[in-house]
């Protein structure tokens, strides 16, 4: 296993009367795409900005590339950061903006090559303020790569982008991973995290409520797959009821949960044996989104109960 490039222990951040980050631990290995997920206000940005040496923690230990975060200047040379809601200089062109940030580092990459990589070489002389959201975000990603960083922090890089612009960002994150860079991603989009991440932590109310690879998380917390038998009707229900007691009819479609140890082929066999008619069978597996909604939802319910006590 590759070495840990980020190590976090007991990290806490308290504001006057709220605890934004409430004692979290995790580590990120070199070359991983690591995602921090969570609803609004979960504490994602507070966490990343502590790792980026932008905000001092209230307690806990953070080490980035083997350096303690008190050594901010040495760390900054080796990481790249795209802050949440990034804006560049409105009245500078794409190229001038990238050159500005490249000019801040002693060792910077070739700006032309970088612009080609983010596919902005054709628009390099346009003013930043005239760009579309997707292109602005590409400028942001370019500015976070000017120093050829070992770790790239991207705080909600796809928020507010259209599906195609979002896919562009995904492709770039994939490329970064192929180059061996470590990517620390925060996002609200489960689909994105499921597809891109090697490892995921889900945060809520400043705590990590669940962690693992996307597969592990779905296996552990996802519900059983559900089969929808379209057009099977009353007859289908009668045939299945005995073997699958929780089968239910929704209009003319059957909804059957395939619990652990059961197989979808059993459903087909029963229907065929009874010569029931149906249009199609759709199997829906749990996604990370289902898990996320369930876990954060459960927390909400728990809180409700606590409040009632």
């Amino acid at each position: 296993m590759a070495e840990a490039v980020i190590e976090v222990e007991g990290l806490r951040k308290q504001y006057d009367n709220i605890v934004a980050v409430d004692g979290i631990d995790f580590s990120v290995r070199r070359g991983q795409v690591f995602s921090l997920l969570g609803p609004n206000g979960a504490g994602k940005t507070t966490t990343v900005e502590m790792l980026e040496c932008l905000r001092p923690p209230s307690a806990g230990r953070v080490s980035i590339l083997g350096l303690d975060i008190s050594q901010g200047r040495r760390i900054k040379d080796r990481i790249g950061v795209l802050p949440q809601g990034f804006n560049a200089f409105a009245l500078l062109t794409v190229r001038e903006n990238v050159e500005y940030f490249a000019g801040m580092f002693d060792a910077a990459v070739d700006v032309d090559e970088l612009l080609r990589w983010v596919k902005l070489d054709g628009r390099q002389n346009e003013l930043f303020k005239n760009l579309s959201g997707g292109m602005k975000q590409r400028v942001g990603i370019a500015t976070s790569l000017v120093n050829d960083p070992e770790i790239v922090f991207l705080d909600e890089p796809t928020t507010g982008l259209d599906p195609s612009a979002r896919r562009d960002v995904w492709r770039m994150i994939g490329n970064l991973r192929d180059q061996g860079k470590t990517v620390f991603l925060t996002t609200h989009y489960m689909e994105e995290a499921e597809m891109l991440s090697d490892y995921i932590c889900i945060m809520n109310h400043g705590r990590i409520i669940c962690r693992g690879t996307p597969r592990e998380i779905i296996l552990e917390h996802g519900g059983s797959p559900v089969a929808f038998v379209r057009g099977a009707g009353e007859k289908g229900l009668r045939l299945l009821q005995k073997a699958f007691p929780d089968a239910a009819l929704v209009e003319d479609d059957l909804k059957v949960t395939v619990h652990n140890g059961r197989r979808v082929s059993e459903i087909l066999n029963l229907l065929d044996a009874g010569e029931a008619h149906y249009d199609e069978i759709v199997i829906k597996k749990s996604t990370l989104e289902d898990v996320f909604l369930r876990l954060t939802g459960e927390e909400l319910m728990k809180e409700g109960e606590e409040d009632e006590e």
């Binding site: 900005e49 980026e52 802050p83 949440q84 409105a90 001038e96 801040m104």
Partner: protein, 362 residues
């Protein structure tokens, strides 16, 4: 420092060039001011101003003259004792005009001889011009009353400042100070609040750029901008109007100190108030009173007493006075005093501004 401050400076110049509003307010607006006020104020004003009069004669004729002068309602006569030194009074009270009725005024008049009133003034001051016109018209009316209709009483003027001075000489240093003040404050407040709200400071913090390097770049830029405005304003003044103001080292130092002062003030305002709109309003609340109460458009001397007190508390007043002393009156002692005040204030605000301009979030 490496060249990071220069990288930032280059970006600042480019942003400035592409911002029509920044260019207008720093470069075009002062030109408009000079053109408009240069044209308007070359005439005379209205209203009753205070006029100090020293009656060295004490004859019925001189008393009659004073009575008529008072009766016009256009000046408010203040009597100076016969034993007082006019020069001292003028400088102590910062007067722009002073009338002396010479000894022998009544006697000579009765003897049918010509007499001359001694009117000392700063011909660049609108107050002095108005007072002069009132004195002159009173003298003329007495002339008419005297038989012979000759110009028996004339008003001789003696300048209390350099004779060659015109209105524009008096007005131009004020415009310089004003331009430095508002363009610097506005520009600092605008950039700092915008960079904050757009997250640019946060992004800059993730690079090795230091806050001190960024501040150095800003201050260098504001100084360059101040000198560009000064050069433009002085060129216009000398091309279109009869400008006699001089350029000297104290004036240059005043411009440097003034730029530092208002840059720091802008930083302090933006440091105290992060919200863009509110910071803009706060900047206005600082800029406008200074604009109108620092003796640029209206002389401090012509203001009601309490406003004069306010004016003395405004930093811009000292920059205006200093620039006038240095460029117009050739009063180097006064200029250096004002320079010291502006520099002192700049130091105070620099400390305040730097303390308040935080990059780091809590």
């Amino acid at each position: 420092m490496r060249s990071r401050a220069l990288v930032d400076l280059k970006a600042t110049v480019l942003e400035f060039k592409r911002s029509p509003s920044a260019v207008f307010w720093t470069l075009a607006f002062p030109i408009l001011l000079i053109l408009i006020f240069g044209a308007i104020f070359s005439g005379n004003g209205a209203g009753a101003y205070i006029l100090y009069v020293q009656d060295l004669d004490g004859s019925p004729q001189s008393e009659q003259f004073l009575e008529i002068l008072n009766g016009t309602g256009q000046v408010e006569v203040m009597m100076a004792g016969a034993d007082e030194d006019p020069e001292k009074l003028i400088s102590d009270k910062g007067l722009s005009s002073f009338l002396i009725i010479p000894a022998g005024f009544g006697q000579n008049l009765s003897a049918g001889e010509n007499v001359t009133l001694d009117f000392r003034w700063d011909s660049g001051s609108q107050v002095a011009i108005t007072n002069y016109n009132v004195v002159k018209s009173v003298a003329d009316s007495m002339n008419l009353a005297v038989q012979g209709a000759d110009e028996r009483i004339s008003v001789g003027t003696g300048s209390i400042v350099d004779d060659r001075l015109t209105f524009i000489d008096f007005f131009l240093p004020g415009v310089l100070a004003l331009t430095i003040m508002y363009s610097t404050i506005n520009y600092m407040v605008l950039t700092i609040t915008q960079y904050k709200s757009q997250g640019l400071f946060r992004k800059m913090m993730t690079t090795p750029l230091r806050r001190s390097e960024w501040l150095a770049s800003r201050i260098i830029w504001q100084i360059i901008l101040s000198f560009i405005s000064v050069a433009i304003i002085i060129s216009i003044g000398s091309l279109l109007f009869d400008l006699n103001a001089t350029i000297n080292i104290v004036m240059v130092l005043l411009i440097l100190a003034g730029t530092a002062l208002f840059t720091s003030m802008g930083m302090a305002i933006a440091g105290l108030i992060s919200d863009e709109e509110r910071a803009d309003a706060a900047a206005g609340a600082v800029v406008f009173p200074m604009m109108f109460l620092s003796g640029i458009f209206f002389q401090v001397e012509a203001m009601p007493g309490f406003l004069q007190t306010v004016a003395m508390a405004l930093p811009l007043t000292y920059l205006v006075d200093g620039l006038r002393d240095a460029m117009v009156y050739g009063n180097m002692a006064g200029a250096v005093f004002n320079l010291a005040v502006v520099t002192g204030l700049a130091a105070v605000f620099a400390v305040l501004g730097t303390m308040l301009t935080r990059w780091k979030q809590e």
